[in-house]
């Protein structure tokens, strides 16, 4: 009991003295059923929030006031109020929600439901379900084009990136990628869509206008068997020059020249690295390590891992408020 009291005491103290440059990172812990809140000034966990069963996908709302977390085994998305640090509401998704994305205005939420081959569309203001879109088997990765016109969903057993028109909510194109596509990310200028294939071991670079794969990023780490290289999370810098790709049980993050699509460097992080988020000024990149139960902090300019922070059990998703 005293431990909890102390933790909350420290939290309250930190909130009052934290300088303006500090940010808060919210990390979903798949096994603990909690969300850890990391202060990026002190690099410590300042709060642990209890959530529903099996939290994975996690994202700030566009206004920065709420954090949404998909609790797959409870078949819903929970809403955390950042001001109080508590779950205040939930959104109706389909069965087993995993990843989701919002439109630019932060009004519509698109959720991948792994269990029934659908993407659910939710009105964020009214918090009601607007409809479903049928996609391939085991939908997972979600991204929205910078112009907001196209929604991308990747399906893990169908091995496709589905292009969905956000106005008509219909699938307009399908692009085959390598096995078990898990994550999709657009370049900020909309010129390229990147999709990671966990089992295939590659990242496909797709021309979003022509709907074709124009290149593939491959990985090779000396001394590591190729089956262990399983790309998952992708983050790109705003200038579109550098990308970071989490390689799962390879325990590394690849630093990639985003123009040439070649790996510049492999950064050793914790075990089974999943997802990542930049601090708003892109000084740091935080990555979750599922098996080692920690978050690695990467200095983006130096391309070095500078710290690791213990969080809950099996950390999976991470989000940082963007101003």
């Amino acid at each position: 009991m005293w431990r909890h009291g102390l933790l909350f005491g420290v939290a309250a103290w930190l909130v009052t003295i934290t300088p303006a440059s500090a940010f808060l990172a919210y990390v979903s812990n798949e096994k603990s059923n909690t969300v850890s809140v990391i202060d990026t000034n002190s690099w410590t966990v300042i709060k642990t929030i209890k959530v529903g069963q099996r939290p994975r996908g996690i994202e700030f709302t566009k206004d920065g006031k709420l954090v949404l977390v998909a609790v797959g085994d409870d078949d819903k998305i929970e809403v955390i109020d950042v001001a109080t640090g508590q779950v205040v509401d939930s959104l109706p998704s389909g069965p087993d929600p995993e990843l989701f994305t919002q439109d630019a205005a932060g009004k519509i939420l698109y959720v991948a439901n792994e269990n029934d081959n659908t993407v659910t569309v939710i009105d964020l203001e009214k918090r009601v379900r607007l409809g479903d879109i049928q996609v391939g088997v085991e939908p997972e990765g979600m991204a929205i084009s910078p112009d907001g016109k196209i929604l991308i969903n990747t399906s893990e057993t169908t091995n496709m990136a589905h292009f969905i028109d956000t106005t008509t909510r219909e699938v307009v194109a399908n692009v085959l990628v390598d096995a078990r596509p898990r994550f999709a990310e657009f370049k900020r200028d909309g010129s390229e869509l990147w999709v990671s294939s966990e089992i295939g071991g590659t990242v496909s670079v797709i021309d979003p206008a022509k709907h074709v794969v124009t290149g593939k990023i491959t990985f090779s780490v000396p001394g590591l068997r190729s089956e262990a290289i399983q790309p998952v999370g992708i983050s790109m810098t705003k200038d579109g020059k550098t990308a970071f790709i989490a390689l799962g049980p390879a325990n590394r993050v690849a630093v990639v020249d985003a123009a040439r699509h070649t790996v510049l460097k492999y950064l050793l992080v914790g075990q089974r690295v999943w997802h990542m988020a930049f601090t708003p000024e892109e000084k740091y990149l935080l990555v979750t390590n599922g098996v080692s139960n920690d978050v690695s902090v990467i200095d983006v300019a130096a391309q070095k891992v500078i710290k690791s922070i213990q969080v809950g059990e099996l950390p999976w998703g991470i989000t940082i408020a963007q101003p």
Partner: protein, 393 residues
């Protein structure tokens, strides 16, 4: 002969781009025997649709993908009754199906393979674990999805050695397949540094598997059967015939764990497997078939998914092109085992991690950490390239 035709499911439901052309039809046949083998444990008694139920789910998965590619998969099932000619049945099934998934004993699988050789039909062995089908008796038109006995034995041995349970008491059943499994276990012990301190044969003297006062009798028999053994760490049982192994746990004279055909069992799949997204396929399977997914279901699912994976990549349902694609070195398939599965080019055996299960939980997954290999750690399981006697023609 019993025949079923499962027509593509759920095709018209969804708004997808309209294709002007007729969809490409891809026929998959399933060839097995009518009836199921009796198990000692009632909860392990296989369903009548064991195996085909997995193929059916994969056909549904393939059709979900196929609706985006204008491909349509069908599944045709043939069940042989005793005395029916397997070669004839295989040939008939190949009339409408370029691919056949087989759950057949070794000799029948060879007959089917030879009957199909000149027809260009690709045969997927989903049921037979015999090493000889991948070695001296290998056939160029067969892809083996089922693991071999040697793969299963090696997977178990790696774990037992890692656990430092290196002294084994090997108990072998009196039927041929029990002896083959025992051969694989002896080989595994030799490869990974375990020692078989003694071997015993459990004679099958016949009798029913279901009796009203069975437990009382077994409780007296098993301790007596296992007494006066040299010091050992684990009892390893080879009993594919389901005569005695499941009677051993908790009844051995010395308090020792049991592995092999009971206790800790190596298998390609288990209803308890939930890692690496497996919960998704487990849920889909239960929804479709109203029961849990077995190893044979998974082997048939994987075979049908390999076909779907290939047809989606090459945009063709032509068996020859599909077979060529499957044999390419860069072919791989995802099957909820935490890594991609690939084919051994020397005998067309699917490389795969092996689960070690206790009937309730997945205890471990082999290959175990530290068992290294220059090509793939999955090749630490089973007969490797330098040892193979297979010559594909």
């Amino acid at each position: 002969m019993i025949r079923w035709l499962v027509v593509a499911i759920g095709l018209s439901v969804v708004a997808t781009p309209v294709f002007a052309a007729e969809p490409i039809e891809i026929g998959v046949g399933y060839l097995g025997h009518a009836g199921v083998k009796a198990k000692l444990s009632l909860v392990e008694q296989p369903a009548e649709n064991d195996g085909i139920a997995g193929a059916r789910l994969a056909i549904e998965d393939n059709n979900t993908t196929g609706k985006f590619l204008n491909q349509r998969f069908t599944l045709e099932e043939v069940r042989l009754r005793d005395g029916e000619d397997v070669a004839q049945a295989a040939a008939a099934l190949s009339g409408h199906n370029g691919f056949i998934i087989a759950d057949l004993p070794a000799d029948e699988l060879l007959k089917a393979a030879d009957a199909l050789r000149d027809r260009g039909t690709v045969l997927f062995n989903a049921g037979a674990t015999d090493d000889r089908l991948r070695e001296a008796d290998c056939r160029a038109n067969v892809i083996h999805v089922a693991p071999t006995r040697s793969m299963l034995a090696d997977a178990l041995a790696q774990y037992l050695v890692w656990k430092q349970w290196k002294r084994w008491l090997l108990v072998v059943g009196s039927h041929d397949e029990d002896k083959l499994y025992a051969d694989a276990l002896r080989r595994a012990a030799g490869r990974f540094g375990a020692k078989i301190v003694q071997e015993r044969i459990f004679e099958d003297t016949g009798g029913a598997r279901r009796t009203d006062s069975g437990v009382t009798l077994i409780q007296r028999q098993m301790p007596v059967f296992t007494q006066q053994a040299p010091a050992y760490d684990v009892l390893v049982a080879a009993d594919e015939s389901e005569v005695f192994a499941s009677y051993l746990p908790y009844r051995t004279w010395d308090p020792r764990p049991v592995a092999g055909s009971a206790g800790l069992v190596p298998t390609s799949w288990d209803a308890a497997q939930d890692q690496w997204g497996a919960i998704q396929i487990q849920n889909r399977f239960i929804k479709l078939n109203s029961r849990r997914m077995t190893a044979l279901d998974m082997q048939a699912w994987t075979a049908a998914r390999m076909i779907g994976e290939a047809t989606s990549r090459i945009k063709s349902g032509d068996p020859k092109s599909v077979f060529e694609f499957l044999k390419r070195p860069d072919f791989s398939v995802a099957a909820f085992k935490g890594q991609r599965l690939t084919l051994r080019d020397w005998n067309q055996q699917l490389r795969q991690p092996i689960l070690l299960v206790d009937g309730r939980m997945v205890v471990s997954v082999s290959p175990q950490e530290g068992f290294l290999h220059q090509v793939s750690e999955l090749d630490t399981l089973g007969v490797d390239r330098p040892e193979t006697r297979c010559k594909l023609h």
